[in-house]
């Protein structure tokens, strides 16, 4: 059976050209970038080349890019690093109720360690109101952290407006741009971002590598000590092959992004339209237009997400859900609840995130299979009966 992968927000297949670029750095060019001899300098050159590529894609300077082990580390670094470097100035951090857990859980930890955290609400589309950000800034505010594009519902936040507000208030602005970079244009100067998180495996790069953009002059405490790497901001021998992979992935993304985004918007809209035509009681989660080109997130009434996922998987279709039943915790996605969905609707969510291998045919396959799956599950749902 041909498998159809529709979970690119979880991870993406590594681009063959990325793999090709990485391979020599496992074997022939295996050197440690800190070594002075040629092996080391080859590796150093490759790391610096990748740094330039990453900087170029987001309108930054190479020296403002710090390589990390991924998006989670970049988020942890930005939040803990900025919080502890600036605690004499203040202890207030502003964030939202729809952050990725790599931001949300760091904020919760900081909240238990003497910092005051404001979690801003969102509207039914998942949008933060920049005026809300402005209203809650105090003389104690040191950091604003707002997700660029939400990983579950795909809503693109008004980050440049928020960045402007942060700049005027002289507060650091961090944005988790893990789902945005390489998919939609991201420019650190337009965003007025001081800190910005990137992950390679969300843009056809390898897992285990990412980057944090740190605007020159931003005060940050390092999470890792023990070496001179990354100008002492992130100790530990560089993951050279992975960094090279990230560099190649952002280079390709820069070339292909505009065209690919346009193609994905077409597929996305076809899928959204088809689902609402073929299945009753389907609701689109997130904003209808201000959303990532590849994100389709819906709630299907009276049925539960994991049981839909399992049925789709039996047909070779890989998707995702915000239902708690697919995780160890029993509570449904905090993002869907923040949008105002009922717990039943949050449990009935399905997320398809499309990518470069997907075609019209894949959308048709989903549209042909899902109505039958929903009908089967609804036939055994006690929720439907109570609706009659």
């Amino acid at each position: 059976m041909r498998r159809i992968y529709l979970d690119h927000a979880a991870t993406t297949p590594t681009h063959p050209e990325v793999v090709k670029a990485m391979l020599p750095y496992f074997t022939d060019a295996f050197g440690n970038p800190s070594s002075v001899y040629s092996y080391g300098q080859e590796a150093r050159g490759a790391v610096e080349e990748a740094r330039t590529r990453v900087a170029e894609l987001i309108g930054a300077r190479g020296e403002e890019i710090i390589f990390t082990s991924g998006g989670t580390e970049a988020d942890n670094f930005a939040l803990k690093g900025a919080a502890y470097a600036n605690e004499r100035k203040g202890n207030h951090i502003i964030t939202t109720s729809i952050e990725h857990r790599a931001v949300m859980e760091v904020c919760k930890l900081l909240g238990r360690r003497g910092f005051t955290i404001t979690y801003l609400p969102v509207d039914k589309y998942g949008l933060v109101d920049p005026q809300d950000v402005k209203k809650v800034i105090t003389s104690k505010t040191i950091l604003i952290s707002i997700i660029h594009a939400n990983n579950e519902v795909g809503t693109i936040e008004p980050v440049s407006e928020i960045g402007k507000i942060a700049k005027e208030a002289e507060v650091y602005f961090h944005t988790d741009a893990v789902q945005a970079v390489g998919h939609i244009p991201v420019d650190v100067d337009k965003l007025k971002a001081d800190l910005l998180s990137i992950s390679a495996h969300k843009l056809y790069g390898p897992k285990g590598v990412g980057a944090l953009y740190v605007r020159k002059g931003t005060k940050l405490i390092s999470l890792m000590q023990g070496g001179e790497q990354e100008k002492r901001r992130r100790a530990g021998t560089e993951n050279v092959p992975a960094i090279v992979g990230l560099g190649k992935a952002v280079e390709l993304a820069g070339q292909e992004m505009d065209k690919e985004a346009e193609r994905l918007v077409g597929l996305r809209n076809k899928l959204i339209k088809g689902l609402s035509e073929k299945i009753d009681h389907v609701h689109l989660n997130g904003h209808p237009t201000r959303r990532l080109p590849n994100n389709v997130c819906v709630s299907i009434d009276f049925v539960e997400g994991e049981s839909m996922l399992l049925n789709l998987d039996l047909e070779g279709i890989c998707a995702s859900t915000g239902s708690a039943c697919s995780s160890a915790s029993l509570e449904p996605s905090h993002v869907l609840l923040a949008l105002g969905l009922s717990p039943e609707q949050a449990h009935g969510s399905l997320r398809f995130t499309l990518g470069r291998e997907n075609s019209e045919e894949d959308m048709e396959r989903v549209l042909n299979l899902l109505p039958g799956i929903v009908a089967k599950l609804r036939a055994m749902s006690p929720l439907l009966k109570t609706q009659k």
């Binding site: 539960e304 994991e306 509570e331 717990p343 055994m380 006690p382 009966k385």
Partner: protein
């Protein structure tokens, strides 16, 4: 490449794919209704009882694959049993009958046990009213 890893046993997947005894019983002798929307599992269990023996059982479930499988198997386990025996069916028996459940899904077996107990209690309460 390693074989595909599945969190569910073959038995669970069988009951998930082909659930037994789906539906409602008209004029049931007992109905159990357990679970809540917050945790994402809701089960309804219907039983038909003749001479203290459960002659039919049906279910309706909103929930994950494990919730559907535990509902399905409990209707099979209970059919033909007398009320006293049926009350002894524990969540452990449900798990064993399914060749195991992943640790995070154990609550689904508890829910199935509770649904059965609740249906039997409903039956017993109705019997009392009749007397």
């Amino acid at each position: 490449m390693p074989d595909a890893w599945s969190q569910y046993s073959k038995k669970v997947m069988d009951h998930f794919k082909n659930p037994r005894n789906v539906g409602e019983i008209e004029k049931p002798d007992g109905v159990g209704h357990v679970g809540n929307p917050v945790c994402g599992d809701i089960m309804e269990l219907y039983i038909k009882v003749e001479d203290e023996i459960i002659v039919d059982a049906k279910f309706k479930t909103f929930g994950c694959g494990a919730a559907i499988a535990t509902s399905s198997i409990v209707t099979e386990l209970v059919k033909g049993k007398n009320i006293k025996e049926a009350l002894k069916i524990s969540n452990k028996a449900v798990v064993e009958a399914l060749d195991g459940l992943p640790p995070v899904k154990m609550h689904c077996s508890v829910l199935a046990e509770e649904a059965l107990k609740s249906a039997i209690e409903d039956y017993l309460a109705r019997q009392k009213l009749k007397k």
